[in-house]
Symmetry: C2
Subunit: 434 residues, 2 copies
């Protein structure tokens, strides 16, 4: 598709650039300081969880199902929290572990387990290369995707291989072709519901194909980070197929390791993280983690289950979160339509949940748009961050994080983004002619 700037004649284009540059200069003079980089809720939104802090006090009963939450023990997590984790992730509570505040850490340690020790009797992934003429262990990374996932595998020396993210999840034709052909591909990173950053949810067909596809690696694992499983903006949320049911039906029960946390439900960074897997694999993970952990913070687990005793309570709480998030997402969509409709300069996603909007400008524009926004006082997630190694092959993608600023600030920031996209698009059109 052509941008409106590409269709202008030279005189029109020069005039358009002059006009846009003048508007950029005006914005710079306003010395804005706005942030759309951070996937974190606003202080007002976080505050809705403050009543949780009143639920444990000096004279509280600190037991749960007979477990003393104030002393060592119960490595696997307290009974009520495992029941909640089972509801979150769609498995029996016995297939869950409830741990500390960071699901990212559990993800890291689960990959590290496979790397250092192997899984289900297979050789450690760290030994694959030496046994296969230096071939590297690889992970599929649906892109645009979550930079911290890609960081975990990169950190362990695993090669990140981007695959195209679609409205229905990763491009499954590509995924199936790759995993069938290469025994070195040991896993895939997935944010299956309201994916980071596109906000798209995997279709039932995608879930079935992921869990049933033939993989050259017998120890292929799906790292299923269901971070936004209850983060609907509307009463009618996206529906995600139960991945464990699908995997079991396909005879690949051990293939899935799933994660979630309450970080964006109660307090970011001070929530409770969960992991779920098949009975065999969850036992492996527990054994691996027990080398470094006597038991996690059970008082915080207790505080959480007293605040959110079941999934119904969680959903009621999430409806309150949605009241903060919905106007922000709607502001993003409205401002982008208002500023960019008919320009041919951009496409963006229309999530019904999660934390992000994925925005694509013309080829070669994203880094320049980010830099220009920064000059105008608006911070965006660094361009490229949504791709493995920070390398967006077409330099188009920008992750918009609307949750933190006020709607007013967000509105101003989006006007800046629109202006930057237009100027960079116009400049690109001019440079093409040179």
């Amino acid at each position: 598709m052509q941008t409106m700037y590409q269709t202008m004649n030279d005189v029109e284009l020069a005039a358009a650039i002059d006009d846009l540059e003048a508007r950029v200069a005006e914005v710079k003079a306003r010395e804005l300081k706005l942030d759309m980089a951070r996937g974190k809720p606003s202080p007002e939104q976080v505050a809705i969880s403050r009543p949780m802090l009143d639920l444990l006090s000096a004279d509280s009963d600190l037991t749960d199902g007979g477990v003393d939450c104030s002393n060592y023990g119960c490595f696997e997590g307290i009974p009520s929290a495992r029941a909640l984790a089972g509801e979150f992730l769609g498995v029996d509570p016995s297939q869950t572990l409830v741990l500390g505040s960071s699901s990212l850490l559990i993800e890291h340690d689960s990959v590290a387990m496979c790397w250092l020790k192997g899984t289900c009797g297979h050789a450690p992934w760290s030994e694959f290369s030496a046994a296969h003429d230096g071939a590297r262990v690889k992970f599929l990374c649906p892109a645009p995707g979550y930079d911290r996932h890609f960081g975990i595998t990169e950190d362990l020396g695993i090669e990140n291989v981007p695959v195209r993210m679609t409205e229905n999840g990763p491009d499954m034709d590509e995924v199936e072709r790759l995993v069938a052909a290469d025994e070195g591909i040991k896993g895939i990173w997935c944010v299956p519901k309201y994916s980071n950053p596109t906000g798209d949810t995997y279709s039932d067909e995608t879930v079935r194909r992921l869990t049933s596809m033939k993989t050259a690696a017998p120890d292929f694992r799906i790292f299923w980070d269901n971070a936004y499983c209850v983060h609907d903006l509307y009463d009618e949320g996206d529906e995600l197929l139960n991945v464990f049911d699908a995997a079991r039906e396909a005879g690949n029960e051990d293939r899935v390791i799933a994660f979630a946390s309450t970080s964006k439900i109660t307090f970011p960074g001070a929530g409770v993280g969960f992991v779920a897997a098949s009975p065999v694999v969850i036992k492996e993970i527990a054994h691996h983690l027990q080398a470094g952990l006597i038991s996690a913070d059970k008082l915080n687990q207790l505080r959480h289950v007293r605040f959110l005793p079941d999934l119904d309570a969680v959903r009621a709480h999430m409806r309150r979160h949605a009241e903060f998030m919905r106007p922000r997402f709607e502001c993003v969509d409205a401002k982008l339509h208002e500023g960019l409709d008919g320009t041919g300069c951009a496409t963006w996603t229309h999530p019904r949940g999660g934390y992000f909007v994925s925005f694509d400008g013309p080829e070669g524009s994203a880094k320049r748009v980010g830099a220009l926004c920064r000059e105008m006082g608006v911070t965006l997630t660094p361009a490229g961050a949504t791709w493995p190694y920070g390398e967006d092959p077409h330099d188009t993608n920008i992750r918009i994080a609307p949750s933190y600023p006020s709607v007013e600030d967000l509105s101003s920031a989006l006007e800046v983004l629109v202006l930057a996209v237009k100027l960079v698009s116009a400049q690109l059109a001019l440079e093409e002619r040179a």
Copy 2:
């Protein structure tokens, strides 16, 4: 030294065994159920920290030094908690990280960092073997020592090498000889104050020799788990030299990685863990951990610093803990004296702090004493647990954990232990004659 049973004639010995067996039968009939296995405080002792749970409520200020503790960010820990960690570990706060509830996990991840990535520009420890004709990476393990430390290195495939623990710390002649000769020895596990399980504290000379000794490995690391740094039983506690000062004076600042936590100060398993190291090494550790962690639970950090704002507050709180611990330690000592003085059957330590008493019976007795105690309804830490791979070479050592039972139950449990030690000693004397 001979036991009294070895000095008896055959008739006397047979009579003694008859008498002891009759007493064992009487105890079994009582169907006791007592536990001296667990290094955890009693529920009454834990309860002294309950007022901490009142300090954060729905209307609290949730900031510390300008940091919003209720949202993501501040990976390194909140300012007040880093100040406290600096006091605990004897370094500038900038050389600390305050993380989640488990210092054991930080220890695990610090060793894992060296294993996977190396430290200070040296090759990863995991590559040592291939580069040195299959020679293994080894760790020195002062024994008797802490089984979970040994478990971390064992888990990573590192070879644990026991070195003799003395009243002044590890046998430094042996340590110096070993580390000077073997480049594969990459570290040593230390619990320098009120060591687990002997309760002994490293002498100044030991600290100086550890930090100044010549090591064949240029990347040798001391893992300094100062778990009991404030856990004095008496107002006059043992004094431990500042290991970072000693290391700096010796020009080996990067050699030390130190740990502590509030697990046995506030709530076991729900405290706050710290790590400290040289500026260079703490930066490495932070970088390594950031692959798997956005930020730790800062609300729990805030709750802790509001309860224990500085080391004076910690010491006042620890004096209250000592009121629970002191009578238990004194009961252990009194009952062992009462039951075993003059028998030649045992020696034990006399800690002035920490959580354990280390007990040694005759050679070849510990496993049998443990089994016999179990038959009489008393659970001890499994014999051998205090040695790498659970292999106590002389099968003499038993770790006594007096903190959990009431003084009354503890007294009964020690009578059982004394009886078991006597019967096993008598049986061993008889078997020698066969």
